[in-house]
Amino acid sequence: MIRFALRRLGLLIPTLFGISILVFALMHLVPGDPAALVGVDSDGAVSANVDASAQVAGFRERYLFDLPLWKQYLHYVGPFNLSDDGHPWFGGSGEDRWNGLLALDFGREFLRPQVDVGSELWRRLSITLPLTAMALLLAYLISIPLGIYSAVRAGSLFDKTSALVVFALYALPTFWIGLLLQMSFGRTGLDSLPTLGLASPDAMDLDTGARVLDRLAHLVLPVLTYALGCLAYLSRQVRSGMLEVIGAEYVRTARAKGLPEFNVISKHAFRNSLLPLITLFGAVLPSLVGGSIVVETIFDIPGMGLYVYESLLRREYNAIMAAVLIGAVMTVVGMLTSDLLYAWLDPRIRLEGGSSDA
């Protein structure tokens, strides 16, 4: 199994390069230029004072956008100097200040040149990860028992009511849930929970304990919104997986053995019903780091989701590349983890054997 994991991780590197080439190409094919956003206010009004054509030309020269795409890619990947006269930002100056992707250097942003994409991503991750992790944990903690119970009591009043609630949650847009929660718990409602940001504006003045509490209070509504968003999908997945398993012959066998119902469900049915959920795990990991644009917008949390969204709007190629690559790593790791979990839960799968395991 270790060999399997290592082999899969080894495959990660060519996969990442493949993805990076693809994304690099796609990104540059999308019309729009980071420099085109210079002198633009938040509503998209353009200041007629700026010289947009010169700005774009300057950007294109500075960041080599006019070079053939493959050359730009090589510049992105490493310190290859392919421009005619050398370029300070791309290794041309002969110094090793800029090393490209190979040195795990994600470069800088264009419009915020003081921002190093790598450290910015890290900072955003540290905001998003606790939020998504708590939300997903909560979603799983609720949806697994809910899904199981609905499946076991399929057709019962409980099942029907929970289905109704869950579908309503599923149909309600996340922003609506978020606004509803804000209105209910915010100053305009119960006034019991903060509705914006990650901390009170004056949190810096509080002592450590109060600061932690403040932070946690700020997390409640976003976590709830995010969790409610996934809850519906997850619990339905659990329910349908469970229903399928409950009808299986080995569950009938387990009943025929005269085992207590709890035993039948928890030991025989649940473990098998987990298998499809594990496939989901491959998708869960990237979403952990991806965050949610909607939740982050409503609650004004500057996490990964917003970062990627803003970067896309601003055509911050370096940021987009870095985010996609991290997403890709997480996807691959997620899939690997789900494979390993699968193997652990399902003895029919033998990882050493072959590649037909995924």
Binding site: V30, P31, G32, D33, P34, A36, L37, V38, G39, V40, D41, S42, D43, G44, A45, V46, S47, A48, N49, V50, D51, A52, S53, A54, Q55, V56, A57, G58, F59, R62, P88, S93, R108, F110, L111, R112, P113, Q114, D116, L179, Q182, M183, G186, R187, T188, T195, L196, G197, L198, P201, T297, I298, F299, D300, P302, E310, L312, L313, R314, R315
Partner: protein, 657 residues
């Protein structure tokens, strides 16, 4: 030295009959200390230049209280500023913050709309006389002042630049007026040389003294090709030379006379602290005298001071985070008269308007400038949570929207077609319904409330019948009976490109589409994200494109309407407008330094462009805001940003936070 020179001038010229000096009145000086700016003045018309009363829009406030110091002001801004280093373009919100945390060589007086000295204590303006190659001996030009008199001949007061320690002083040699005949010189560039005398009491927020080195470094930076400052570089490329005459005197010489040469030292000139950003400054801890342009540029780009801003304004940035930018009053600010009342200003960043309104109602924000018209007039502001805490008001900001017709395409080449399109949209109705009657339809790109704008110019009325007539005259009518007008076998069908986040121009598009359908024109909506839309417009790959522009109180029309921009990709002449007379007018405007003589030129240009309809001119909407009742001293200006935070103060009784 120059001052004594003027004294001498006063004595020497009483005989010279009527003498006046050209340009901007020659010397701008700080006002003597006196009343706080804007106090107690009233104006019947709140638009345009003029004294602006305090708190005039508030029903609940009577008279003005005496300003007091203290408290914290929380101001909403709708997007995260990229940084605060405006040399590398930081966006509109950053500019508004810089208003309070930074200072400029010249500032525009929000009431008179005139430029006034600020960091530059005084500015002296000189002309340049260019000799014919055969005349003048070794010098090709001399500096001085063009003097008009009753003489037929051209009179000239020469001036020599000399350093303060130069023993030869003009006190001993009184200036003499030279007279030239037409054949003696080639041309005079009026107001092409500026002498900025800097304040000696200005300190950077870190305590470092501000001096000429900072100004020179900033000019160097704008002109350093490796720096990301192309957006403004063209302005400074008009400068022929610049030098520091001493630690507090900077001389700047332009290539030619230009009506906005002083203006570029206002909004577009963000002075950088040399001791922080300049690698070649010995005071910089990273001092490196060998640094190349590129290295100096990168040092600026990647500098953390871009966000941890060290400025010269009355407020000092203490925190720059994702959620807010905080500044506290800087006690060493040089202008004690205008040094701000509140102790702290917090710019609260909430990009989502709904979230921001939540925060507003929760009392977390003192000022919010993104109310919609129907909120201003409707339930939102009527609810108790709002009415108890806030007053509401509006002001105009120099922003207008439009639909550019791409004249490079055959469809829009005929002026009758473009006029027909102008007849097919009822802007007034649109303003009445969408803007709840707040807003004005405009006939020019320049600011509706600036003197350059001719409010008398009549708009093409909404008249679909007239539109059909015009189209028919131009050969467009429905020949094949399919309900769509055609000509030469082509149907009149085009694409309306707009930014998908621009709700206003989406509505305009929808309404226009309906109207055009009635006169047999097919308009297809094409929404793109902003960057993609800009790229398409920049490449001129569009039929019709919606957009909006922010303009200064006065904007050089050359970028927007001169034919030399018609073929330049991404220039603001999106329609490809070309007109010889307009080109001439624009060039005249650029060279005309007299405000009163410039205005008729603007008006003629406006009428010409409006007649040609290179774009459908849209409207200006006011900015609708809410301001906390505890905040006083609020004035509404009709120049961006529309308010001046340093004049606001917080009623002591209401102070809770």
């Amino acid at each position: 030295m120059v001052r004594t020179f003027f004294a001498a001038l006063g004595l020497a010229l009483p005989v010279g009959a009527l003498v006046f000096l050209s340009g901007f009145g020659t010397t701008l000086q700080s006002e003597p200390n006196g009343e706080p700016k804007g106090a107690a003045a009233t104006s019947e018309h709140p638009f345009g230049p003029g004294a602006v009363p305090f708190d005039d829009f508030r029903e609940s406030v009577e008279g003005s209280s005496k300003p007091v110091r203290g408290g914290r002001l929380v101001v909403h801004i709708p997007s995260r500023p990229l940084h605060l280093n405006h040399v590398i373009e930081a966006g509109a919100d950053a500019r508004r913050i810089l208003e309070e945390v930074h200072a400029r060589l010249v500032e525009r007086n929000m009431e008179t709309w005139e430029l006034e000295p600020s960091l530059a204590e005084s500015i002296e303006v000189f002309d340049r006389l260019n000799f014919l190659p055969s005349k003048g001996g070794s010098a090709s030009s001399v500096y001085g002042r063009e003097v008009y008199g009753s003489h037929a001949k051209f009179a000239w007061l020469p001036i020599e630049w000399s350093l303060p320690d130069d023993p030869s002083s003009s006190e001993e040699t009184p200036p003499t007026i030279s007279f030239f005949n037409d054949g003696d010189y080639e041309s005079v560039d009026s107001a092409s040389v500026f002498l900025f005398r800097l304040r000696q009491d200005a300190l950077w927020h870190d305590g470092h003294r501000f001096d000429a080195g900072d100004v020179i470094f900033t000019l160097d930076t704008y002109l350093n090709p490796a720096v990301q400052s192309e957006h403004a570089r063209h302005l400074f490329q008009q400068i022929r030379s610049y030098e520091a005459l001493d630690a507090y005197t900077v001389r700047v010489e332009f290539e030619q006379s230009y009506f906005m040469s002083l203006d570029i030292f206002e909004d577009d000139f963000a002075i950088l602290p040399s001791h922080i950003f300049n690698l070649a400054d010995e005071d910089n801890p990273h001092f490196d005298s060998e640094a190349t342009d590129a290295e100096r540029a990168e040092f600026i780009h990647s500098n953390s001071a871009n966000v941890n801003w060290v400025g010269l304004g009355p407020y000092r940035v203490t925190e720059f985070s994702d959620q807010h930018i905080e500044a506290e009053r800087f006690d060493n600010y040089f202008d004690k008269q205008d040094a701000g009342w509140v102790d702290e200003i917090r710019w609260r960043i909430i990009p989502d308007d709904n979230a921001a309104k939540q925060a507003l109602l929760a009392g977390e924000i003192d000022f919010f400038g993104r109310l919609r018209s129907r909120e201003l007039l409707g339930e939102f502001t009527a609810q108790e949570a709002f009415a108890e805490q806030f007053d509401k008001g509006f002001y105009y900001s120099p922003q207008m929207n439009f639909i550019a017709w791409n004249q490079r395409r055959a469809l829009f080449r005929d002026v009758r077609v473009r006029q027909a399109l102008a007849h097919s949209f009822d802007w007034q109705e649109f303003i009445d319904t969408i803007g709840s009657e707040m807003g004005e339809a405009v006939t020019a790109t320049w600011y509706r409330f600036s003197p350059a704008y001719d409010a008398e110019l009549e708009r093409f009325p909404f008249d679909l019948d007239r539109a059909e007539e015009l189209l028919a005259e131009s050969g467009w009518f429905d020949r094949d009976g399919d309900g769509v007008i055609d000509k030469d076998g082509e149907r009149f069908e085009f694409e309306y490109l707009f930014n998908k986040n621009d709700a206003t121009m989406r509505l305009v598009g929808q309404k226009l589409k309906e109207n055009l359908e009635r006169i047999g024109i097919v308009m297809n909506m094409a929404e793109r994200d902003f960057a993609a839309k800009q790229a398409l417009v920049g490449e001129r790959n569009f039929d019709a494109a919606a957009g909006s522009w922010i303009l200064g109180p006065e904007t050089d029309p050359v970028g927007l309407w001169h034919s030399k921009g018609a073929d330049v990709e991404r220039s603001f002449n999106q329609s490809g407008y070309r007109d010889e007379r307009s080109d001439q007018l624009i060039e005249d405007i650029q060279g005309e330094l007299d405000d009163n003589r410039r205005i008729p030129l603007y008006h003629e240009l406006q009428a010409r462009i409006y007649e040609a309809q290179p774009m459908m001119f849209g409207c200006v909407f006011p900015v609708k805001f809410a301001v906390s009742k505890r905040v006083r001293g609020v004035q509404r200006f009709f120049l961006d940003p529309g308010y001046s935070l340093r004049r606001w103060f917080i009623l002591p009784k209401a102070e809770k936070r």
